[in-house]
């Protein structure tokens, strides 16, 4: 794989994993389960202890980790409304808005709201887009609430469609929907992907990204990619299999490449649950079986790593390269190697 690939991380986050942010037992289990993934990605020499990992990531250290410790060039951050587990929702709107305001050429930001709140949620989304500069919208279909699941589906005329109509009105072309990966003991009905088809048909001007596509409901997702020009697979969490279960990753990529094609897949690291450097290195070394008709050529890899996402947001990669070639991150990178993974978090900015 060429070493000069441009990389846009389709979803990465300055999470607030601090213990003070946990909402009871549910939040604690959330943290414990997410941290359990960490050693699968990270060699023990640099792995974070649980105490280090349970951190309220600040935007500047998050960006330095992404851009100075890995070959990531742009970061797309989703704010999240996971209030059932984290008091601030896990990635606050304030963090997203701050990133977008201070680093518009380096970040893409998706607004969020609990759309079960109806008009209040619509007003919040409108504010985040028009006043705070959000580029897209991220939605969660299920919540764990006092032992019960509250959920909605993408084909719901009264809950979901008003959000899509608002997006159209505001000129928002990208909506990402969390699917295929249960967040706690929630009902799985809302995590199926079939309902995305109805939304995609009704709103052909909007691109719908199925976040965590392939983690579950692989067969259903691959047909959506095939059937709908405006449905994409954003491989957050699923991409981790590239590193810790290449055989399963091969199976997912085989289906998605055959049915959706290379133009429908979006790389995501899931950082900072894990470190993006190790995942990108794993993908560099990952190949599809020799007899598979769609090989991971440099061209195909570039589409997955940046091209597809850039196209959805109207980003001209060559123009963007010129914009950031001398910014503060580029200046720190020039002439220096990558910093050691997690050295920014540890306050030990060592280059490798």
């Amino acid at each position: 794989m060429a070493t000069d690939q441009f990389v846009i991380d389709g979803i990465c986050h300055p999470y607030n994993f601090s213990r003070e942010n946990l909402n009871g037992r549910f939040g604690q289990i959330f943290n414990d389960v997410l941290y359990a993934f960490h050693p699968l990605n990270n060699p023990p020499e640099t792995a974070l202890s649980k105490e280090e990992w349970e951190h309220d990531w600040q935007n500047d250290e998050f960006l330095e980790t992404m851009f100075l410790e890995s070959d990531t060039d742009l970061a797309c951050v989703h704010s999240t409304p996971i209030f059932d587990a984290y008091l601030d929702g896990l990635i606050s709107v304030e963090k997203g808005a701050d990133l977008k305001r201070r680093y518009p050429d380096r970040t893409i930001w998706y607004a969020t709201a609990d759309i079960l709140q109806g008009e209040q949620a619509l007003q919040s989304l409108e504010h985040q887009v028009t006043e705070l500069g959000a580029d897209g919208i991220k939605l969660y279909p299920a919540q764990y609430y006092r032992g019960r699941t509250r959920f909605w589906t993408m084909d719901d005329y009264t809950i979901a469609f008003p959000v899509f109509e608002l997006a159209m009105e505001l000129g928002v072309k990208n909506i990402a929907i969390h699917k295929a990966l249960p967040l706690g003991p929630v009902a799985t009905e809302a995590l199926r992907v079939d309902d995305v088809g109805m939304a995609a048909e009704a709103f052909p001007e909007i691109n719908f990204q199925i976040v965590h596509a392939g983690f579950m409901f692989l067969d259903e997702a691959k047909f959506l990619l095939l059937n709908h020009a405006n449905v994409y697979a954003t491989l957050e969490a699923t991409f981790l299999y590239c590193q810790f279960d290449p055989e399963l990753f091969t199976r997912v990529m085989r289906e998605f490449l055959l049915y959706g094609g290379p133009d429908k897949l979006i790389y995501s690291s899931t950082a900072t649950v894990i470190h993006p450097h190790y995942l990108l290195e794993a993908f560099k070394n990952f190949e599809m079986p020799e007899d598979f008709p769609i090989q991971l050529t440099d061209e195909v890899r570039q589409k997955i790593l940046a091209g597809n996402f850039a196209r959805l947001h109207g980003i001209d990669i060559e123009e963007r390269k010129r914009k950031i070639e001398d910014d503060e991150f580029a200046q720190q990178r020039n002439g220096n190697g990558l910093r050691e993974p997690w050295s920014t978090l540890r306050g030990q900015e060592v280059t490798t």
């Binding site: 359990a36 050693p39 699968l40 202890s49 649980k50 249960p182 003991p185 290449p246």
Partner: protein
């Protein structure tokens, strides 16, 4: 649910914790008509009990299991129901990977046939992957070998 007893002097014992863990069922097994606990499946890597504080290391048969939260929550509920339990910590671990060798005789007998193929698939993937993963940072720092922690399970 009945509550297992601690030792006669009121101190919580590992045996009482194991007895409670044996009441936590795996939802997939229940759905398949099998009365198998997380102990039967070998999902408990280790139990430490000291002065009423309990630490349990557990795994699941596959990374990303959709019942992760449900099972871990059930473990907390089971142990916190013990009157002598003062503090409970449940640590999910993906390394070392679960393999079918961890099934006890009861589970092996119950699962003979229909699920054997699935378990062998998991075994094939898991062994290869987790051989590369290495040790946890805290184990490394403490100089503990991979198998030193979590093998105290029965």
């Amino acid at each position: 649910m009945s509550v297992p007893n601690g030792s006669p002097n009121g101190a919580l014992t590992a045996e009482a914790v194991y007895e409670a863990l044996d009441m936590v069922k795996d939802p997939c097994m229940t759905a398949g008509g099998h009365d198998l606990s997380i102990l039967d499946l070998g999902l408990v890597y280790g139990v430490e009990v000291q002065d009423g504080r309990v630490r349990i290391d557990i795994t699941l048969t596959e990374v990303g299991c959709i019942f992760t939260h449900r099972i871990i929550g059930a473990v907390y509920d089971a142990i916190e129901a013990l009157p002598e339990a003062k503090e409970v910590e449940v640590i999910p671990r993906w390394a070392p990977a679960w393999t079918p060798e961890r099934l006890n005789e009861k589970a092996r007998h119950a699962l003979e046939g229909s699920r054997v193929a699935m378990f062998h698939t998991i075994k094939r993937r898991g062994l290869d992957v987790h051989a590369k993963i290495g040790r946890r940072p805290e184990d490394l720092a403490a100089g503990r070998p991979e198998t030193a922690y979590g093998t105290s399970g029965r």
